[in-house]
């Protein structure tokens, strides 16, 4: 690395010499003394930290050198001397070099990294990205599947999720586990109390609540200025609610055992009729199709809308925002499980993971080394490491009070910087770490998410990788997504919806269905 930098400096220096020479020879009579160019491009700016941490001298017996690439969600990031990274290195006997990549440009950086051939030992990858799938198939990453059973924590990885994250039946990475049944219905508590409403258990009751929020003046200000549910340009709420009605989660089996996409099921149509009714009766914001997602929370927070269908934990965010306006002891929001629909109690799950940690073959060359790296990953799932990377160092970033975590960071930027984004390394497999003391609302959220695990509807095609979809997927998705919105706002009728589905089939949909079913038969 140093050598290469010198080469770059040499080149830049050469250009500088050229520049000076040109200026000096400019006029034969006299030279302009005040024209020295001040800097060369590679000179470090004065403000830069003395970050000369390049002494590769091995201190201990043999700490494993590891480059880890993860996404960063801030630019105030831990340096190598962060006490957390130090503690991590000590616990795992490694010499870790974390490479942070800002989240918004992560996919680009992954591609660049793949093409450059200098792949870090461990990197977080998106299992669905075409570049990763192709690289994995070309042998860029280790298939860790057969090894997992040898490690106490990794052995506890969930079979279903492992299957969902596999590529051609092989596990080219260890998934980062996330809450599976994350969705929930958030309602405005005051409005419910004002109108004497109780938790919605069926879709009809849910509809009645929305109706009452619109028509019965739930904020008791005597004005017709409220409505039911707020939805933005982001179509998540429609995806969730159609599952309530019995439509499959993306793919479902028909009576012949053939997989079909959700928009070809009658339940999908039922759900759309309901959505259309919501729109016609003004129970949803009329500008939902164009609403800026950044403003999605605002109508709820401002007391214009009273319902929110999304991740259950948004109840907390909404409450926080409302508390900021007018602090009080009790929460403004309450959160519930999905209402029961005609086909039973169903809800949309998440994929249950967010990316995977993949181990590169170009940096980890032998099986021996692979086992060391896996040991490191296994250790990351120890309670100690979960606490360390998520909460920090005890006594510095948090303290234990009655078995619960109490954070000591309190927005102190220096402490925050030491821990920022390090939780992106965690897989959350195996034993659970202590948590912060829960508010009643948080307990409710957790309870809803726990209970959801019983009712979530899996996507049978989740592990399948379709070539057709990789090529045409986005355009095909747009056809259906656009038709759904147009149907809801009344621009097209059932015939129009049928036409859109036909167009979808013609523009790759038929091939897609055939391919998915072929793949599905193989793994069945």
């Amino acid at each position: 690395m140093n050598k290469k930098t010198n080469k770059g400096k040499l080149k830049a220096g050469w250009l500088l010499v050229l520049a000076v020479a040109m200026l000096l020879t400019a006029c034969s009579s006299n030279n302009g003394g005040n024209t020295q160019p001040s800097n060369s491009p590679t000179t470090n700016p004065p403000t830069e930290n003395a970050n000369a941490n390049t002494d590769d001298v091995e201190v201990k017996e043999d700490p494993l050198k590891l480059d880890i690439m993860i996404a960063a969600f801030s630019t105030d990031l831990p340096d190598d001397n962060s006490p957390i990274i130090k503690a991590l290195e000590e616990y795992t006997n490694t010499d870790v070099n974390v490479q942070f990549v800002p989240n918004s440009s992560y996919p680009d950086k992954v591609n660049i990294t793949l093409v450059s051939g200098e792949i870090p030992h461990i990197m977080v990858v998106d299992r669905n990205s075409a570049s990763f799938i192709n690289a994995a198939r070309a042998g860029a990453f280790w298939d860790v599947g057969p090894y997992l059973k040898d490690y106490p924590n990794l052995a506890q990885a969930h079979e279903v999720t492992l299957n969902n994250t596999s590529i051609d039946g092989k596990n080219y990475g260890i998934y980062r586990s996330r809450v599976l049944g994350r969705m929930g219905v958030t309602l405005n508590v005051d409005w419910m109390n004002n109108l004497g409403l109780s938790a919605p258990t069926t879709i009809d009751e849910f509809y009645n609540i929305l109706k009452a929020f619109k028509e019965d003046d739930p904020d008791q200000n005597g004005k017709d200025d409220t409505y039911g549910i707020v939805v933005s340009k982001y179509s998540g709420p429609w995806d969730i609610m159609q599952v309530w009605f019995g439509a499959p989660n993306k793919w479902g089996e028909d009576e012949n055992g053939q997989l079909l996409p959700t928009h070809m099921f009658p339940e999908y149509r039922e759900a759309l009729k309901f959505f259309r009714q919501l729109y016609e009766e003004g129970l949803v914001n009329e500008d939902f199709a164009v609403m800026d997602s950044a403003a999605w929370n605002d109508p709820f927070v401002n007391g214009k809308a009273g319902a929110f269908v999304d991740v259950a934990d948004n109840a907390r965010r909404l409450d926080n925002a409302m508390q900021e306006k007018a602090p009080r002891d009790t929460p403004y929001t309450d959160v519930f499980q999905a209402p029961v629909g005609p086909k039973g109690h169903r809800d949309m799950p998440t994929s249950g993971y967010n990316g995977m940690l993949a181990i590169s073959k170009s940096s980890v060359k032998t099986e021996e080394e692979l086992k060391r790296v896996l040991k490191f990953l296994d250790q990351l799932n120890d309670v100690e490491m979960k606490l360390l990377l998520e909460r920090g160092v005890e006594g510095r970033h948090y303290e234990m009070v009655d078995g619960h975590i109490k954070s000591l960071i309190n927005d102190d930027p220096a402490l925050l910087k030491e821990i920022e984004s390090l939780n992106q390394m965690l897989m959350y497999i195996g034993p659970e770490a202590p948590s912060i003391e829960q508010t009643p609302l948080n307990e409710k959220i957790n309870a809803v998410q726990k209970a959801n695990e019983e009712i979530v509807v899996g996507n049978p095609a989740e592990p399948l990788i379709s070539e057709v979809y990789a090529q045409l997927g986005q355009q095909m998705d747009n056809i259906i997504a656009d038709a759904r919105i147009q149907y809801i706002v009344g621009q097209i009728d059932d015939a129009g919806l049928d036409a859109a589905i036909e167009l979808w089939k013609k523009n790759g949909g038929d091939d897609y269905i055939a391919e998915i079913n072929e793949l599905y038969q193989q793994i069945k």
Binding site: A19, S131, A135, E286, V290
Partner: protein, 302 residues
Amino acid sequence: MNAAWIAKLKKDRFLYLLLLPGLLYFLVFKYAPMWGVLISFQNFQPFLGFWKSEWIGFTHFENFFAHPDFFRLLRNTLILGFYDLIFFFPAPIIIALLLNEIRLAYFKRWIQTLIYVPHFISMVIVASMTYVFLTTQDGLVNEIIFNLTGKKINFLADPSWFRPMIILQIMWKETGWGTIIFLAALASVDVEQYEAAIVDGASRFQRLIHITLPAISSVIVILLILRLGNFLDTGFEQIFLMTNSLNRTVADVFDTYVYFVGITQGAFSYSTAIGLFKSLVGIVLIYGSNWLAKRFGQEGIY
């Protein structure tokens, strides 16, 4: 080599020395990576790299031209390009000429400084603010329209408003910035010419036609030719942000399509092929318009 050449080379040796850094720059940073164009004939995969990726000839081009959406994308891109050329391109020139007629120096400076501010506001923010102003649900503009006419205009969802909205956004954001180059050109107009014209009794309009416009005409022609080279570039981010399910039929352009297939689906080769197609159109337009400009007695770009 004949002696006249060598004499010329020797005479201009300092000029060649001046040319050298720039030439080196183009060779190293523009032409050395030019092989990247060739991946449009491959099935390029980052991990395999250029040498190991599979060669597939013109398949991507065939797929692109045969794509059911091709003509819609082409149409949308062309229409947007024309709108941009007709409405946005002249805007900075007009504003610069209007500013040029202002005789209060401090007023002129203030206006200049204020109108170039939006250039620095990122498109994401512009899109958010557009939503806030134009939405039918309590949007500021629609409140006013509703109070005046009793109706609301669904600017954001109505396909017929999409193109005007895009052009207005870009005019709002970049007109002030665009005036800078014309103001610089106007700064090099000889004041004595104006003084002489005033003595001759020329009106302000005559001065505009006979002195000011000719002085900046070569800049206008150059910028126009260069703009034509990028005719099919509509910009990705703005269109992407303003697209929704209700206006997509008119909103889809090459650049958004490239984004979806290239970035989200990782089809590097395919998106490069589309880029290559756009570049070929651009080069034809540049050389064609340059030739035309020269026929009309203008300098052109070279």
